[in-house]
């Protein structure tokens, strides 16, 4: 059964017909062509699919597309404007907080979700916000450093 939903994705209003059991992740990737949220487990265990939904970081694999009707969704594609990287992206580059890059979009969106509501978090708060995002490559240190760097500058 198809449901028509309308959602704002990266600033653009989109209307799509979705199956009731399809997730937001699947609809973003397969129907809207937004592929930065990754499929790592489809079970809420890895964070690779993290997007902001109404400003809050969520695992898009756990959200049914129909539940996202009317929601505002933001993914990492929306962060850099006119060739300028968002401070978080810039910090990830500067700190070499990226290796294979597969966790990166989810990591950045989780970090943005945190900084948007708490611009000056402690290290522990940063770790807590990223605890659901798995990274097998970096050992996380650079990622935490990058987020803290932005938090200290307070320009997110």
């Amino acid at each position: 059964m198809l449901h028509e939903i309308t959602l704002t994705v990266n600033g653009e209003q989109r209307t799509v017909a979705v199956k009731s059991h399809h997730t937001l992740l699947k609809v973003l990737r397969e129907q809207l062509g937004i592929t930065s949220p990754k499929i790592g487990c489809e079970n809420g265990e890895c964070g690779a699919c993290t997007v902001l939904m109404n400003g809050k970081a969520v695992n898009s694999c756990l959200v049914l597309a129909v539940e996202a009707d009317g929601a505002v969704i933001e993914t990492v594609e929306n962060l850099s404007k006119e060739g300028e990287l968002h401070p978080l992206q810039q910090a990830f580059v500067e700190h070499n907080a990226i290796q294979c890059g597969f966790c990166t979009p989810g990591m950045i969106m989780s970090a943005k979700g945190l900084l948007d509501r708490n611009p000056h978090p402690t290290v522990d708060e940063v770790k807590e916000a990223l605890a659901g995002n798995l990274c097998r490559c970096t050992g996380y240190i650079r990622i935490v450093d990058a987020v803290m760097d932005v938090a200290k500058k307070g320009d997110a």
Binding site: R29, G33, T35, S36, K38, I39, G40, C41, E42, N43, E45, C46, A48, T75, V76, E77, L79, S80, L85, Q89, F92, V93, E94, N96, I98, Q99, C100, G101, F102, C103, T104, P105, I108, K127, E128, L130, A131, G132, N133, L134, C135, R136, C137, T138, G139, Y140, I141, R142, I143, V144
Partner: protein, 779 residues
């Protein structure tokens, strides 16, 4: 390029990653992100519910009757065997399944849901056979035989299977006379250790798409560390001319060896043959990733090691039994590597080593970061500690005294190339305040420090090759074509640095044209494994850049009527040391230069090519493992850890990991540091990882909830890294690889620290608070 930062002579500088921008912006396409349009079909595997069984019949009619199902492919469609070192498997099994989760058939449908539904409708009739899961059981004479046809399999000349048994490889190392050395030993230690199967757990699951076109050309898109090896193996197995099989491999979302060789890719190609013209996608769910893709082998090890009263190692005897899983086509070479490196980084006069690869009814054991070394260092680095204890010597000092040094005739008879392991030991002991015992944070906690050292050689055939092409554009920017894969390690950045340095152009002028690696257009690269790219592909890139440079100098020298030897390229400009003339590279690298009064032209589009292949590795005697040159080189390193153990719970907190590795030359020091840091956490995580099976051999912990990998909450407070640079004789700028080494000895370093803290020894991985607690209770 104007207005941007320009980095000249970038080798040795921590320039930013070349792939960073596309990765932070979400622009990168991994295999699963490539759009294939509405024609895309989806595949699902039917998996074996038995660990060991004969396939009596497969009935696909119900599955085929389901609307939306396009085809079902089984073993009889692909009757040739496949394998890297030992051709011991079929793409889909013909008559027998060998682990719970083995793909028995592939279903193709118009969407994932229907494919999944149809997979359940494929009826397979099995006759269950007795199964064996532990390599120590599988070597017994009465163990069920997993590969009765072992003697018929095609095998490379340096692997020695024992038909009629479950042993797919037996590597023997004999040096000196162990038996008579024991009597001269002042101290001897002897014990058993076990390492379970673990998995790579890349965040990107395996994904492959294949399309078999009606004209017989075949395209495979794969998350792959090995596009060329996959082309070779799949072409052979499916009788496709190599030139007709095109493998396209974009950035890999984490490899660690799990995407080396072939895992699901041959199956997907075989499936696509049933639906000509349609792309077929198969993506592993996380559960399938655990159940059905390659894993690290288990290893049961026995050691007996002795030294004299001054702590000089005299004798070393070991048996390694690797649980290779259902197919050992790749794993046999892990066992071989463990055999020719069986002593770890120690100089021992008398050695008797036996390393066995053993078939078991479990997931396929294959390449994983460290390739046999974490498995053997787990035990041997604890045994060295115990020997030092027994003789009353400081554990770091014991290692300094006995570790390999350049010029040593090592266990295989090969002369040890340049490395400085003593310096690595010195650096980590300094970083961790080795001699000082710090106070615990609470009365019921105990602090401890541990050290472990390691070595690892690139384990591969004697002659894996690399090829590179360097091509200039009109604005003197450069495209470097390579066939090695960016799996996160930073190889594209390092290759760009090497090309820029050689050419005399800024780093920022270089692009790496290898995303995707495409066997139709990319230069050859054996595989992205063995920490070999910086060294091997680096040498090829350097040669290609040097070729291009010489061609440029030739043209300009003729133009100026000078000797090319007097010319150089600096910052993108050809300069003459003799006449002090200058010529920008711009335009001339494509259009050439005019003769005087435009009386004709010379030069033309500049392209350089280069290759590298080691030519000096020799065979080893099958009875003794002795030979002139067993391997190309070794990378060595040391790690020391500072931990705190909670005596009430057994909980271990790793406070600090200090690492030092001899990388020869850090082409990009910060990228080396990111390997050291990521590796330390990977090593720490792996110490707590392990597969659990039920009595039928079914994997129990097949999700990220039950199979935990380190999260940001688990990392040590501090990770310290030191880089040692003792140049490698044939490395570019002296560089050797370090990608795998960084996690090899983390687990034994922690175990040694546990012993230091609370006086208990853990011989069986994974570590757990419970295990430590129970061991303390027993004491």
């Amino acid at each position: 390029m104007a207005g941007r930062v320009e980095t000249t002579e970038p080798v040795g500088k921590s320039v930013p990653r070349i792939d960073a921008y596309e990765k932070v912006t979400g622009a990168v396409q991994y295999v699963d992100d490539i759009p294939f349009g509405p024609n895309l079909l989806y595949g699902k595997f039917v998996r074996s519910p038995y660990a060991h069984a004969l396939i009596k019949s497969i009935n696909t009619s119900k599955a085929l009757a389901l609307p939306g199902v396009k085809a079902v492919v089984t073993g009889k469609e692909v009757p040739n065997r496949i394998g890297l070192y030992l051709k011991d498997r079929f793409v889909f099994p013909l008559d027998r399944v060998r682990w719970i989760g083995e793909p028995v058939a592939g279903v193709i449908a118009i969407n994932e849901e229907i494919a999944e539904e149809a997979a359940k409708l494929v009826e397979v009739e099995y006759e269950e056979l007795p199964a064996v899961f532990d390599p120590r059981e599988a070597i017994k004479p009465d163990a069920p035989l997993i590969h009765p046809d072992l003697g018929k399999y095609e095998v490379v000349p340096f692997i020695f299977p024992e038909p009629g048994t479950n042993i797919s490889e037996h590597f023997k190392l004999r040096k000196g006379d162990v038996d008579s050395a024991w009597s001269q030993c002042a101290a001897i230690v002897e014990d058993d250790f076990f390492v379970p199967q673990i998995q790579h757990v890349p965040i990107e699951p395996h994904c492959a798409v294949a399309r078999w076109d009606k004209d017989g050309t075949v395209t495979l898109w794969a998350a792959s560390q090995s596009p060329f090896a996959q082309r070779d193996l799949i072409a052979q197995s499916l009788d496709i001319p190599h030139g007709n099989l095109r493998v396209i491999a974009p950035y890999v979302g984490g490899g660690f060896g799990g995407k080396a060789g072939v895992s699901i890719e041959a199956n997907v190609v075989a499936m696509s043959r049933a639906v000509p013209g349609y792309p077929v996608k198969v993506r592993m769910t996380r559960e399938e990733e655990f159940l059905g893709t390659n894993v690290r082998q288990s290893c049961a090890a026995h050691y007996k090691i002795g030294c004299d009263k001054d702590g000089n190692l005299l004798a070393y005897e070991c048996q390694y039994y690797f649980g290779g899983g259902a197919y050992n086509e790749y794993g046999v070479n892990i066992t071989r590597a463990a055999g020719y490196s069986c002593t770890g980084p120690y100089d021992v006069p008398n050695v008797k080593g036996d390393s066995y690869c053993v078939y078991t009814n479990t997931q396929v054991g294959s390449a994983m970061r460290g390739f046999g070394m974490p498995e053997i260092h787990w035990g041997l680095e604890q045994m060295m500690d115990r020997l030092a204890e027994k003789i009353g010597m400081d554990k770091a000092e014991f290692r300094r005294r006995n570790c390999v040094r350049p010029g040593d005739k090592i266990l295989t008879g090969m002369t040890m190339p340049q490395v400085d392991l003593v310096k690595c030991i010195d650096l980590v002991t300094k970083a961790i305040n080795w001699d000082k015992k710090d106070k615990p944070s609470a009365p019921h906690k105990k602090r401890g420090k541990g050290i472990a050292i390691m070595w690892k050689a690139p384990a591969m055939p004697p002659n894996p090759g690399s090829q590179a092409i360097v091509r200039f554009n009109e604005d003197a920017s450069v495209n470097v074509f390579v066939g090695g894969q960016e799996i996160g390690q930073g190889t594209f950045t390092v290759m760009a640095q090497m090309a820029a340095e050689t050419l005399g152009v800024p780093y920022e002028w270089v692009r790496i044209t290898a995303n995707p690696v495409d066997t139709k257009y990319s230069p050859y690269e054996w595989q992205t494994v063995a920490s070999r790219l910086t060294w091997s592909m680096g040498n090829a890139v350097k040669a290609a850049a040097e070729d291009a440079r010489q061609k440029i100098l030739q043209v300009v020298a003729e133009y100026w009527k000078e000797d090319p030897k007097d010319l150089d390229i600096k910052n993108g400009v050809v300069v003459s040391y003799k006449s002090e003339r200058e010529q920008s590279l711009k335009k001339m690298v494509v259009y050439g230069l005019p003769n005087e009064n435009y009386e004709g032209w010379q030069g033309g589009p500049i392209v350089g090519s280069g290759k590298f292949m080691p030519t000096y590795v020799t065979g080893l005697d099958p009875e003794t493992g002795q030979g002139t040159r067993a391997v190309v080189h070794y990378t060595v390193g040391a790690q020391a850890v500072d931990i705190e153990v909670d005596t009430e719970t057994g909980q271990i907190e790793v406070l600090k990991i200090a690492s030092a590795y001899d990388v020869g030359k850090a082409i990009n020091p910060d990228l080396v540091m990111t390997q050291i840091e990521g590796g330390a956490v990977h090593g720490l995580s792996a110490a707590y990882e392990g597969f659990y099976f039920d009595e039928r051999g079914k994997l129990i912990n097949n999700s990220l909830v039950d199979y935990k990998i380190a999260t940001v909450m688990d990392i040590p407070k501090e990770i310290h890294g030191d880089i040692v640079e003792t140049p490698l004789e044939d490395g570019p700028w002296g560089a050797r690889g370090v990608g795998e080494h960084v996690m090899v000895q983390t687990a034994p370093a922690i175990a040694n620290a546990i012993s230091d803290a609370v006086g208990v020894r853990i011989n069986t991985l994974p570590l757990s608070a419970e295990k430590v607690y129970l061991a303390m209770m027993k004491k």
